[in-house]
Subunit: 406 residues, 2 copies
């Protein structure tokens, strides 16, 4: 009868109202009745966090990060208490805990704390009494008892970290989609749910714009080999497994196509081609806290070159100002900007051994008269920057080309 | 410059919206600038607690008390974080804490926990750094780290207990009225604010329906001789001091008139007049958790008597059922009920040495043709149960009679 431990995580949309909380309770209880031990991690109800952030902004446009954590951590505390009550209503024993109460110890980087260790004794004790243990996601506590939050995707991280600490057989991430798809189903109707994907592929997918799971949690899962199951809280369908190695019947070269429209491109023209110039440019940007993504430097003509790079749109205006100052400082020419770009990528572990993927991608884009502005590659992905207006066409064409609609 | 420590407590109506939170911040900062050390205790924003109770009720009509505390304690946590942000905005250092973080240790009676001890080291440490310390009212934590709440009036209790522990020179209770009045100003326009009142008088006033402060906090203040100052958060006027002894210029016999319309009366007729019968009746009621307030037993005729008592209306239907069962068990007669009653009381330490007060009260009611149904007295109060419809007339007449309008 006893089947081991599962960690289940439910996001804000899964607990947005009374009815949904009751549905989550039903699902949790059904697993308990099947014989599993359960640790359930919950996010704040629906838009609670956004509402609290807005309220804080009205009081202080630059709120203290410590007080922000104090404020935001209440959202998950409300969720866990309500879920415990809903499970009690179904006749099962359950007990809720804050991050502090179950000993999720973090550093003191408020609003983006990192987990240092987890003292899981309290959870183990309650599990041994047969209780369903409900833990507030997204939050922890410093060694000096200050409440911290883990930043974006923090509840996923709580779930994965607890799964690792408690040696869970699986970490289920419940969300409002059925799993990871070969492409965004809103763009490509033929997109299929992927049954299994490796940590590395998921990391590429996550960093390339697939918004289901934050890269950070997948990295931790990979590091400790925690099997993740991403699935929908609104159905009983199997979702997508994220695991170390996927044994496929056939050799799948490309697992999925991703699209990222959150970036903008900056080009510094006529950069003097001498050592240390690139270091100067990107050193200044990183010093200002701006993350640069793709960087392309063309071959030199007449001891001058053009350097292009992409940054997040949120940091674009800051980046362009800095780029202009640096350009004039090093004696470069014009600084060009382009915010109407999109990044389309093909991802798959199979492409390591298939040199034809890049050629196939470029060929497909060319056939659709889509100009490639920048290219970057990794072991398991190839990304092209194209004009934003061609984004959907590119995704559909590549999805077709690599046989993902089958 | 340094003037000692004040504990200030702000109720839910004082922090109901952004503007009010900002006003509280301004007041706190003005005290800090005068040279006081400050510990500020805050309740949940406006109706937050009621909203959370309602939400819980939708999920589970009989929610676990432990989970209820987990849920409700978030209300005060939100308040303290927002108040800290508002104080920061005014350029002062402040830090917020939950009840658990400042070591307000309670027993494990969830929803009505009692404070066992306070480890105030954390507060003292932050005060010594010159910070304004903000503490979530109404909550504590057990020795096993479960979050508890202190029940009705809990934030007042937090403030008084901290004032005692930190040897504060005063505990200010900010509310939405100017202080304690000689009668309810909504009933008697001539009611005056009382400048100073003793703990004992306030206890009588509190238990007799004056809703400004719960008896429990006044009892603790009395026990440890903590001076309380009840005042309005919407003005700078002096409020009412609640202290051990009031030195008055003249001998004030009666301090105030109170009115309580929350009770109902039950009469068991023709009760056999033999030993143990009263014990049987009130033993059953107390066994069912029903608090009985006033009890009157008339003289016996023909070895039978009538016993009347009052209970809170909330417990009335439970009490009447029980009374009927007990009555038939002991061979008594009819059980009569009356929910249209009111309790009017005169309160004052001066009346101990003035035997004329009772006579004056009865005479005044008689002159207004108000029949007295039950009478009860203590050292410093006399209460009469009258028909509810005469309540306002009685309050006004007694207010006039005892010279409180002057």
């Amino acid at each position: 009868m006893h089947k081991g431990l599962i960690v289940q995580k439910f996001g804000g949309s899964s607990v947005a109202d009374v009815k949904r909380i009751q549905n989550v309770a039903k699902r949790v209880v059904s697993y308990k009745k099947k014989g599993y031990d359960l640790v359930v991690v919950v996010s704040a109800l629906g838009d609670t966090t956004d509402e609290l952030v807005e309220l804080a902004g009205k009081i202080n446009p630059e709120p203290s990060e410590r007080e922000m954590d104090m404020l935001l951590s209440t959202g998950e505390q409300i969720s866990v208490a309500l879920l415990a009550m809903a499970i009690h209503k179904l006749g099962q024993e359950a007990i809720s805990f804050t991050g502090a109460q179950v000993g999720i110890i973090t550093d003191s980087s408020h609003t983006r704390a990192r987990i240092i260790k987890i003292n899981a004794d309290k959870i183990k004790e309650e599990l041994s009494k047969g209780k369903i243990v409900i833990v507030a996601g997204f939050q922890g506590v410093t060694l000096t008892h200050d409440i911290t939050t883990l930043g974006r995707g923090g509840s996923d991280l709580t779930a994965v970290a607890l799964a690792k600490e408690l040696l869970a057989c699986e970490c289920e991430i419940y969300t409002d989609v059925e799993g990871i798809y070969t492409a965004d189903p809103r763009i490509e109707r033929k997109a299929r749910k992927i049954n299994a994907i490796t940590y590395d592929e998921m990391l590429e997918m996550a960093s390339l714009g697939a918004q289901v799971m934050q890269a950070r949690s997948v990295e931790v899962a990979k590091k400790f080999n925690v099997p993740i199951h991403v699935r929908s809280s609104f159905s009983n369908n199997q979702g997508t497994l994220i695991i170390k190695e996927v044994k496929r019947m056939e050799d799948v070269v490309v697992s999925g196509i991703t699209l990222d429209k959150t970036e903008a491109k900056i080009t510094i023209c006529n950069v003097p081609d001498r050592p240390g110039v690139a270091a100067k440019i990107f050193g200044e940007l990183s010093g200002a806290g701006i993350s640069v993504d793709m960087i392309v430097q063309n071959v030199s003509h007449l001891r001058q070159t053009d350097i292009s790079f992409t940054v997040k749109k949120a940091e674009f205006s800051k980046a362009i100002k800095l780029a202009k100052r640096v350009a004039s400082g090093i004696g470069a020419g014009d600084v060009l900007e382009d915010v109407d770009i999109a990044r389309v990528s093909v991802v798959g572990v199979g492409m390591k051994s298939h040199p034809g993927v890049a050629a196939g991608m470029f060929d497909t884009l060319a056939k659709h008269k889509i100009n490639i502005e920048m290219i970057s590659t990794s072991d398991i992905s190839i990304s092209c920057i194209i004009k934003r207006k061609f984004a959907k066409t590119a995704v559909r064409a590549l999805h077709e080309k690599f046989g993902l609609s089958k």
